[in-house]
Amino acid sequence: MTKILFKDIDVEGLTTLKVYQKLGGYSSLKKAFSMKPEEVLNEVKNSGLRGRGGAGFPTGLKWSFLAKDSFPRYFACNADESEPGTCKDRILLEKNPHLLIEGLIVSSYACLIETGYIYFRGEFQDVADLMDEAIAEAYKKGYLGKNIMGSGFNFDLYTHLGAGAYICGEESALLNSLTGMRGEPRSKPPFPAVQGLYDKPTVINNVETVCAVPWIVNEGSEAYKSIGTEKSTGTKLVSVSGHVNKPANVEIDLGTPVSKIIEMCGGMRDGNKLKAFIPGGSSVPMLGIEHIDVPYDYESLKEAGSMLGSGALIVMDETTNIVEATMRLAYFYMHESCGKCTPCREGTRWLYQMLGEVLNRRGSPETVKTLQDACDNMAMKTFCPLADAAVAPVVSSIELFPEDYESFFAEASATAG
């Protein structure tokens, strides 16, 4: 396994500029400034780096969509890590804040951006404080501010804390929230690359994505491409949680089989059998044991019927009550729906009510049918993917484990006595 993001993660004092720089930090700036911005952009494009926030959109391509000749442009770094099961950005932010700053400087240089914002989820107060200290250090050292290292490039960086809403991780809702508006998704088009923050072209990238950029610049895109699979290049942080012996954040080469990742985390709890796993955070469909060896990369997981998402592997063993687990996820989406679109606002609550009905042994095949149809009426019919995310666990759990639902039906429990 190659270590790019976690290379020095456990070195003491890494949060300080001194230690970070001693380990080679900020070296990519010199290299980047010796190149033209578009050369840096092409390097990233060529590396095949894909967005690590969830959608997996090629990063370099996203940058190249920025509206031409429209300035100023902005960089918004998405540190609103809220996807259930995901805690990989937090580790990077807590332990290696300068890596993100370095990544942001280089990325902004490539995109001709002079102002950047890091949008933290509301609960990240401590992390944001740490970042503020790191930013102050970087300013003092001249890595931020005017004419960085004599390159003529200016870059200012600010932090902003959200108010604790999952939806603000959606890029356009993030922009609304960042400007003091209600955290609700915007209509797309126009896309943020054309009209984003303050209606100006804006790049929005996840923390992990940005953190991979310095390595790509230093080592070259070919080196990055040599890791992982053909279409899923590089390494990925995976937050493994659930019924494994040692839940952890691990850095893997993309394409590593899921079974191997579980093994890296000490294997299944109590030697239990795997029942299901959610590969990419709660918003993606769950998969059954037959997919235990699926390579962990964008394409293979998609082929298996799920998605890589944010890289949160939630492992459930045979003792899991799938209906209850699904209901817990449904509760999350009900709580976090912003309420803008009718199907999501009303539907998430209805799904939760119906799952509760099943769990309380008042359900029937009709209830499950209605559940499935309500999911169909929600899916792909809302502004942002929150509704799609909300139906994913429900639809997949019914599909994979119909018997679990049936066991709760009213008549089933009646015969059980």
């Binding site: 709580h335 729906s337 009718t342 606002r345 009303e346 169909d376 009426n377 929600m378 502004f383």
Partner: protein, 825 residues
């Protein structure tokens, strides 16, 4: 400039629409309905209700038709099984927790949710849980009640507050299922335009507190009429039941109101059933008022006027008309005075104004197309509220620019790219300076001579050049000026300025003379002026007057209102007919006018409500007024519209009263209804030739403006000194407590006491702080009110808001300079 168009196919039918049109509107243009809740054609695209789902070829998922632009070659399908199911699903979600209280809901019968459910719903629900209970009655303001259970969170109302009003007063609170509309800290949502959210709410969530549970909408007799408050003449629908006015809703007319009305128009209608209405004619005998029949009152009027004319000549009779009456009524009155009595002592206003413009008379829509709007002495927010919305739309949403020249701060200033403030009373100098700067910029002659601009008006020459530069560099300039807020020769100077600006070869310009009273423009058009016949015919145009009005038409200049009061005080004016006007309160000089009116031998008051003036009258004749009357009015944009009646009056319409009076003077007056008068005035009033019942039925019709007759360069007089006193600027208030909005009005929560707003420089000198009581006095009048220190005007003046009749603010204006003393109490 032709707008680019695109052609698309919807359900197999092709539609060609301007680029930038969304699919909902494109479908509407060819008669295909796409159901909506949250989308409103006057607001931004929200896409949150998801009702307008359609299938678009080459797009994988269903799209919301309101958020997508129609594009060339786009193929939209509105009735596929996928669409039908999607919409059924959306409606099922919408109705999951919506109460089924349609039988008692105010929206019932005109409810988009009912209609869409009927047309697109599944007909059944699978919801088997208890519906969510929520607040049924939450008072957002004294006039708006929210039924939270019925709210479908479409965000139309909050969008209105944000995008149209630009207040963000009404916002969405909380998240998801618990989202809730409300205000900061639960303060009342009581903006000037709040009532519009009732109209645009697609369900019965936002209700009119006064109309709530009072009637079913299908039981109402609806009359498509006009608002009679300010001079915008917004289109409204008057809903009456059993001859009782139940509610007023907006009736969109893009050329006038753009679909909105202000709260005064919506809720300020109690005057139609006021206790203070004059219901019966009266004749004063031996100092006592006795009820009389209309015939008796008219006979008394005619015989008294005739005998006074006989004894003292026609010049001893005067007429004060009303800027609130219809064109027909005013036309007949001037006919009575000119052709019957034989006098030109006809006027309706206290300010100086003349009919006609040297440039185009712009309509409200021109504000949107003009790249620069110039406000002169105008406070649209308080005077002509619907213009406030139009200007905000032009500036914020259409990227036009606004510049302001005024003597007081207004809410429009924050939308202006440049705002200059001249000293109160120095409008002639400021406008002269502007005309001069524009003339210099365009290398033209003909501007008035102005010296010492800075000293006389408080505006630096450079600032004025900058202001003028913006006017001369714009491609289309719309100048909106309020003649009622200008003094002396100012209106003539504005017209001079316009004719100079019109010479700009690079740009075009037009103006909106924005006097705030309902039909002030119509009153001028109808010749309620001592020096102009209807249609802006000057008295000097003898041949034309004779041609239209015959040989006996008087051509000697009559008295203005102020002159009439003077002549009354000196005993030269023996008889005065006052039509729906209350000069004692509404004209500057109050007490003097009252004294003058007391001296008039014969005072006739033809009015709708009892006033200080009717109390002095010898004959009182009831006027039925808005709600009951029928006729036309001309708004400040020059648009003539049809004011229909909504209620049946118990007394005679005004045109019949006038027909009686005219007959008394042996003038043929065989009118069958108000429109036979319209037909006559169309023949007699130049510019009104095309005005007929049919031609103004829908959106009304703009009448061409008469050419202005001011040929010479006007003189500019520097303001007189106010000595050690302050110049008084009376600021108009939209919600002023007067005869129309009485103390028990639904809008009483908007009433406030007048305030003396002082410049900080003056306040410091006098040792006055905000909140102190001060005495504002002039002559024998004084007003004890609260002071506010705010730089609303330049030093040397005090702004007092005209907050209500009881304060008699205008009575403080006692001399030409409007000087008052201010002292701390």
């Amino acid at each position: 400039m032709e707008k680019e168009t695109v052609t698309l196919t919807i359900d197999g039918k092709t539609a060609t629409v301007p680029k930038g049109t969304n699919v909902v509107d494109a479908a509407k243009s060819i008669g295909i309905e796409i159901p909506i809740f949250c989308y409103h054609e006057k607001m931004i695209r929200l896409g949150c209700c998801r009702m307008c789902l359609v299938e678009v070829e080459k797009m994988p998922k269903l799209m919301t038709a309101c958020t997508i632009d129609a594009t060339e070659g786009m193929v939209v399908k509105n009735d596929t099984p996928k669409v039908v199911k999607g919409r059924q699903g959306v409606l099922e979600f919408t109705l999951l927790n919506h109460p089924l209280d349609c039988p008692v809901c105010d929206k019932g019968g005109e409810c988009p949710l009912q209609d869409n459910t009927f047309n697109y719903g599944a007909g059944d629900t699978r919801m088997e849980f208890k519906r969510f209970n929520n607040v049924k009655k939450k008072e957002l303001s004294p006039v708006i009640t929210l039924d939270r259970e019925r709210c479908i969170a479409c965000q139309r109302c909050t969008t209105f507050s944000e995008v149209i009003e630009r207040d963000q007063a009404l916002v969405m609170h909380n998240r998801g299922f618990h989202n809730d509309i409300g205000t900061f800290n639960d303060q009342p949502y009581d903006t000037r335009f709040s009532g519009n959210v009732i109209d645009i709410c697609p369900v019965g969530a936002l209700t009119n507190s006064i109309f709530r549970f009072q009637a079913r909408t299908w039981d109402l007799d609806n009359s498509k009429t006009l608002c009679a408050h300010c001079a915008c003449n917004c289109n409204i629908e008057f809903g009456a039941r059993e001859n009782e006015l139940m509610r007023i809703v907006s009736r969109p007319n893009d050329a006038v109101d753009d679909g909105w009305i202000c709260d005064k128009g919506r809720f300020g209608y109690e005057f139609v059933a006021s206790q203070n209405r004059i219901l019966e004619p009266g004749i004063r005998k031996d100092g006592e008022m006795h009820v009389a029949s209309l015939d008796e009152a008219c006979d008394e009027t005619v015989s008294k006027l005739k005998s006074i004319v006989e004894e003292h000549g026609p010049k001893s009779v005067g007429f004060i008309g009303s800027p609130f009456a219809s064109n027909e009524e005013l036309y007949l009155y001037q006919k009575l005075m000119r052709m019957g009595v034989g006098t030109n002592n006809i006027d309706f206003k206290a300010y100086k104004d003349t009919p006609g413009l040297p440039v185009s008379h712009y309509d409200f829509t021109d504000i949107e197309s003009a790249d620069l709007t110039v406000l002169i002495g105008c406070d649209p927010t308080e005077e002509l509220p619907i213009l406030d919305l139009r200007i905000k739309k032009a500036v914020i949403r259409l990227g036009r620019r606004l510049i302001v020249l005024n003597d007081q701060k207004t809410l429009m200033d924050k939308y202006a790219s440049l705002s200059l403030r001249y000293d109160v009373g120095s409008d002639e100098v400021a406008l002269g300076g502007l005309a001069k700067a524009v003339a210099e910029g365009l290398k033209q002659d003909g501007a008035p001579k102005v010296d010492n601009l800075k000293r006389a008006s408080g505006i630096k020459v450079d600032e004025m050049r900058d202001f003028a530069g913006k006017m001369t560099s714009a491609k289309k300039v719309c100048v909106i000026y309020n003649p009622a807020a200008l003094s002396g020769n100012s209106v003539a100077i504005v017209k001079n300025l316009l004719s100079i600006l019109d010479k700009n070869p690079e740009g075009e310009c037009g103006a909106i003379p924005a006097a705030p009273a309902t039909n002030a423009l119509g009153a001028m058009d109808m010749g309620i002026l001592p020096d102009f016949y209807p249609g802006g015919i000057s008295l000097s145009d003898d041949s034309k007057i004779k041609e239209i009005w015959g040989e006996s038409a008087p051509t000697e200049k009559g008295f203005t209102t102020c002159e009439m009061f003077g002549k009354a005080a000196s005993g030269d004016l023996k008889a005065l007919v006052v039509f729906r006007s209350n000069p004692i309160v509404d004209f500057p000089g109050g007490d003097k006018i009252e004294e003058a009116l007391k001296k008039v031998e014969f005072l006739v008051a033809h009015d709708m409500l009892h006033t200080e003036t009717t109390a002095l009258a010898h004959v009182v004749i009831p006027s039925i007024g808005p709600g009951f009357d029928e006729g036309t009015t001309t708004n400040v944009g020059g648009r003539v519209q049809y004011r229909r009646k909504g209620l049946k009056a118990e007394s005679f319409p005004d045109w019949r009263v006038l027909a009686k009076l005219l007959s008394g003077f042996e003038i043929e007056a065989k009118y069958l209804d108000s429109f036979t008068v319209t037909a006559e005035l169309a023949k007699k009033v130049p510019g009104y030739e095309e005005i007929r019942r049919g031609s103004i039925q829908k959106e009304g019709k703009t009448r061409p403006a008469q050419a202005s007759v001011n040929g010479q360069t006007p003189e500019v007089t520097s303001p007189g000194s106010s000595g050690d006193g302050f110049k008084l600027r009376v600021a108009e208030k939209l919600f002023s407590k007067n005869k129309i909005l009485e103390s028990d009005s639904a809008l009483a929560h908007h009433f406030s006491e007048p305030k003396a707003i002082l410049n900080s420089v003056d306040a410091e000198k006098l040792g006055i702080k905000t909140g102190d009581r001060v005495k504002v006095s002039a002559g024998n009048r004084d007003l004890s009110i609260e002071a506010e220190v705010e730089d609303n005007c330049n030093p040397g003046a005090v702004v007092v808001s005209n907050a209500g009749d009881e304060y008699r603010v205008l009575a403080l204006i006692q001399d030409h300079n409007a000087t008052v003393q201010v002292s701390k109490e």
